[in-house]
Amino acid sequence: MIYQLNANVRNFGETISELSGVDISTCYQCGKCTAGCPVVMEMSHTPNQIMRLIQLGLKDEVLSSPTPWLCASCETCTTRCPKEVDIAKIMDTLRILALKEGYKRKEPNVVAFNKIFLDSIKNNGRLQETKLAMAFNFKTLQFFKDMMLGQKLFMKGKISFSGDAISGVDAVKAIFERSKGFLDKGER
């Protein structure tokens, strides 16, 4: 693939370093992150390729890549990097930036899951697992996903339609209101 570099090369790398607090310039492409990544076979860009693309300032390529969304946040890359680059943290930064800037969702189910998960916490203070699974299936139009499993879990007394809530739910809501970086404007 041929990439066209432009004058913004430096800027994007600096933006990512600034937002994440991680110096991306020290990556020397040894590939150890990619070698240990459990999800790499699903990725069109491997973690070390993402690092190189950031260094080259190829913002659109990076922020429209499915890679950050496939990252399972297992932190193997961060743990093994010989240059102590916190790659998992960079993946967080890329996810947040991609949402903020309205890039197309390459893994819409992951985005939907995160949103429903956080909505549950915001509204109840705790995660309500049963409702999360139901809302996720509804939102992603997979009405029968895990239905057999759900039935078995019901038999084991693990399904709850009422769910936990806390009395300090307003305090949790306030945390959501005050936290920055929470700007999902949808796809542009």
Binding site: P38, V39, D92, F113, L118, I121, F182
Partner: protein
């Protein structure tokens, strides 16, 4: 003195038995647990994938509440909760500026006084393996229990420090051996099960968890021991899907470390909640003369 206990959301749902057995085991060990009142979800992966401030503020509210309650420590049984609570604690300890910023968001001040532990290092450090050995009434003879640590108990090692070696941790192995079982060396101790992709990319979870089961079988394990509700969910609840995808039915019981302890410490099988598992452990336990 009571130890602060943070059960986490799964303890009230898909991992009920982890909570039930932890409480039973602590009674046997003479440990008094005090729940952090009105605790909230730690935010798990979706929070840090969405907002750094949110990912620190949600766990910090729990730490502030525990402090206010007069607790000196907070122990959790979930690896993901532990990871988020510990990362938040260490982050604000390092940076007073961040502490101020997050305290403002939370609206309750956290004074960094708590000791944050996971059940596993709580057992090994606060209780101690010698005391644990003394309390064993039913040694787990001939049980080969493969200890699975997963990701968040050991990584990143600068912040999450249950074991000195993030690549080959042995802290759970020590506990399992203190109970009289054998903890085999095996290849997938710290490989990822797919974790938070459980619902959104179940195909990935089925593949990764299948690899873990295969490796445990290869090590001739009778069961896999976990210390995280998410690892448990992926390894136990997805086994029938793994069987249809890989064509191999591993039927490998996945036990929480508290359940295995409960058996060794003489808690009745019925009181541990083990019957709530998708893959039954009853046959294995019967074969070993443990029920």
């Amino acid at each position: 003195m009571a130890y602060g206990y943070y059960p986490g959301c799964s303890a009230h749902g898909t991992a009920k038995e982890y909570d039930i057995s932890t409480r039973k085991v602590c009674v046997k060990l003479g440990i008094q647990l005090e729940d952090v009142a009105d605790w909230n979800c730690c935010g798990a992966s979706p929070a840090h994938a969405t907002s750094e401030e949110l990912s620190l503020a949600l766990p910090l509210r729990n730490l502030a509440l525990a402090e206010k309650q007069g607790l000196n420590s907070i122990m959790t049984t979930c690896s993901a909760c532990y990871n988020r609570l510990k990362v938040a604690h260490e982050t604000v300890k390092e940076s007073p500026e961040t502490l101020d910023r997050i305290n403002d968001i939370v609206g309750e001040p956290y004074n960094k006084t708590l000791k944050v532990t996971h059940f596993v290092n709580f057992l090994s450090e606060e209780v101690g393996l010698e005391k644990l050995k003394e309390k064993v009434v039913k040694p787990l003879k001939d049980v080969k229990a493969a200890c699975y640590y997963g990701c968040l108990l050991t990584r990143p090692p600068e912040l999450v420090t249950i074991d000195a070696d993030p690549e080959n941790p042995t802290i759970m192995d020590g506990i399992v051996e203190a109970l009289g079982a054998e903890a085999p060396d095996w290849s997938h101790k710290t490989e990822c099960c797919g974790a938070s992709l459980a619902l959104s990319r179940t195909d990935i979870v089925v593949r990764l968890s299948g690899e873990i089961l295969k490796a445990a079988r290869f090590a001739d394990a009778d069961c896999i021991i976990v210390a995280c509700p998410l690892c448990y969910a992926n390894l136990d609840m997805r086994q029938s899907q793994i069987a249809s995808r890989h064509g191999v039915d591993y039927s490998l019981p996945i036990l929480f470390i508290s359940e295995l302890m409960g058996i060794a410490l003489g808690v009745n099988y019925d009181e541990l909640g083990i019957d709530k598992h998708m893959v039954s452990a009853a046959n294995m336990l019967r074969e070993k003369g443990l029920m």
